[in-house]
Amino acid sequence: MTAVFSAVCIAILVVMALALARAMKAPTVYDRILGVNMFGTKTVLFIAVIGYLMGRPEFLDIAIVYALINFIGMVAVLRYFEYTAPTE
């Protein structure tokens, strides 16, 4: 089972790296926000799986906090766009 968890961890890391690449080099500014959102969701999954890999299920608390923070960050970003029109 540990091997499966390790493989899943590496795969989620690859997805996170791809989302990060999208956030760094994006045609429009909304693509960056999309990349950050996907990064956040995959981080939640990564923490859950790595908690099981290392045998410490207490990490699930942190996963819940990340899910909350991801959502609140997205809402703040969209509120910012209500105030200022994007220049791109």
Binding site: M1, R22, Y30, I33, M38, K42, A48, F71, M74, V75
Partner: protein, 114 residues
Amino acid sequence: MLVLDIVSSILLFAGVFFGLTGAVGLFRFPDFFTRVHAASITDSIAVILIISGLLLQTAFDLNTAKLLFILLFLMITSPTASHALAKSARHGGLLTLGESKQQKQQMQQKEAGQ
């Protein structure tokens, strides 16, 4: 519990597969609104599959409740965030691929007519 291990491995790998295809789709799709589709749909299904795979590995205690809470929370907020993002982009004036091609055609016709 070998059957349980096999089933949860299948669920985990399926979830990871959808995650990877979603990330590839972020790069390959031509238009922003299609990219939102790729990201949010694959995100949701990856979350369901991976957390179900982890649920099969836990004993029935507080951790099960926490995993279900994570699942419920992500199911409610992740599609909402994508919806709000797409709506915000539309209000900001972003055009779909078809509309921007149409706009370019109209500009070219105007310039050819002058």
